[in-house]
Amino acid sequence: MSSIALTTPLTDEVIDGLKPGDHVTFSGVIYTARDAAHKRLIELVKRGDELPVDLRGQVIYYVGPTPPRPGAVIGSAGPTTAMRLDPYTEPMLELGVKGVIGKGGRGPAVRAAFAKNHAVYCIAVGGTGALLNRHIKKAEVVAFEDLGTEAIRRLEVEGFPAIVVNDCRGGDLLEEGKRQYRTSERPIPAVQSLGG
């Protein structure tokens, strides 16, 4: 399967060219953030304080890595469930974030927010933290060090593999894919979320 090579930060033109189901690779800088870091970033915005990272054009990766072995750049580093970050996603996109990497689907409001803010949601393959580790060349904590695995890290990545799920036109790979490969007579449930 051929891949589209992306370099960060993402431009509007590049985002225009992406559609659900595209296999892509990221090279350049991406930033990590999970639940606790998102909560703090949004609190800073609410208070009108300066953010520790300029998020314009950037890609956020939802990951909490294992501790590195001595001398290693980072430990196992695969994506976490994106749906938990749904409540924080629209404000992050409004701050200029152009791409997000996680796993699993997003709620309808968040899908719409990607379209409205001309951004994309991608998944990396959940449970492949060892493979993804090989694509991370440098890692440094840039904010909220006290959060440990949940601190914000600046990662330098090369050929980091992912798949486009939500594009800037409101498309959704998971919905399309399920319909395409479903042989069951069962109706697709209206609610596509168990939360958590």
């Binding site: 469930t81 933290g129 060892a130 493979l131 695995t149 894919g177 490969y181 449930p189």
Partner: protein, 283 residues
């Protein structure tokens, strides 16, 4: 019957070893099932994902990197022979010390938060483990270890149905659970189903089935047939690997049953991700 003494330190050493091995080496039956799925999967994108999962297993074992960054809650099932005496310490302390050591020495992620509805302070050593102990005949200790990830555990579900609703209620409930979970539990899945007993019994059975070998069938023919039916029904949903769409949603479905109250039909679903990490040892 003489009592056999087992040193608490032996329990600790064994748990520490199981924690490191389980998080780095994908069980052969799981890897075999994923490899087999590659030949039947209809979606090219899903095949690409399966290839990445297989490559991940290879990198994890050769470079000693955890298969997944979520090295889980440490779930330990103990079958304790009634002719065994644990000497030199309390069993649960010995197990928790093993978890502490395994997660430190293996460079595993510590993911346990204390005060769950308020401070959520990380306990820093992944303890306490989730320990289930059963007293069994004999003079051995059998330890089952499962580093259980949050993504799949959070998709667990329980419901009690009307007693007369039978098999259909179970198949509908399992399918609905998998459909609604989407990519969150990291399909292709291994699905544990507990039917009967009480609420906690059903969920404990569902969890314990996840220690079974992929491809094995329940010794009771009726239950085995239900396992086959569930596997087929789930794979017809089209969820696919990582929910991108495909014919491989589950690698297997396991069912355990227990007699239940005349008013009840408890059904519990406990889902395992494709990184179906378990390891066992007998002392």
């Amino acid at each position: 019957m003489p009592v056999r003494e087992i040193d608490a330190a032996t329990i600790t050493d064994t748990i520490a070893r199981l924690a490191v091995e389980a998080t780095h080496y994908l069980p052969e039956d799981v890897e075999g099932a994923i490899r087999a799925a590659k030949t039947t999967e209809r979606s090219p994108l899903a095949v690409q994902i399966i290839d990445e999962i297989l490559e991940n297993a290879e990198i994890a074992r050769t470079r000693m990197l955890p298969l997944c960054q979520d090295t889980g809650s440490a779930v330990v099932h103990v079958e304790l022979g009634q002719d065994v005496h644990i000497a030199g310490g309390f069993l649960a302390d010995a197990i928790n010390e093993g978890i502490r050591r395994g997660y430190a020495e293996g460079f595993l992620r510590k993911s346990i938060a204390d005060r769950p509805f308020s401070a959520r302070t990380n306990t820093q050593d992944n303890t306490p483990g989730i320990i289930h102990t059963e007293i069994v005949p004999g003079d051995k200790v059998h330890l089952y270890f499962m580093p259980k990830g949050g993504g799949c555990e959070n998709m667990s579900r329980y419901q009690n149905f009307l007693p007369g609703m039978g098999k259909k209620a179970i198949v509908d409930f399992v399918c609905e659970t998998v459909d609604m979970s989407g990519g969150n539990p990291c399909p292709p899945l291994v699905i544990g189903v507990g039917v009967g007993g009480t609420a906690e019994k059903a969920m404990t059975m569902a969890k314990h089935t996840l220690f079974r070998q992929i491809g094995s069938r329940h010794p009771d023919e009726e239950v085995a047939a239900l396992e086959d039916e569930l596997l087929e029904a789930v794979n017809a949903l089209g969820v696919g690997p990582q929910a991108v769409g495909g014919s491989t949603t589950a690698l297997d479905v396991f069912v355990e049953t227990h007699p239940t109250h005349i008013t009840a039909l408890p059904v519990a679903v406990n889902i395992q991700c494709h990184s179906a990490r378990t390891k066992q040892a007998t002392i």
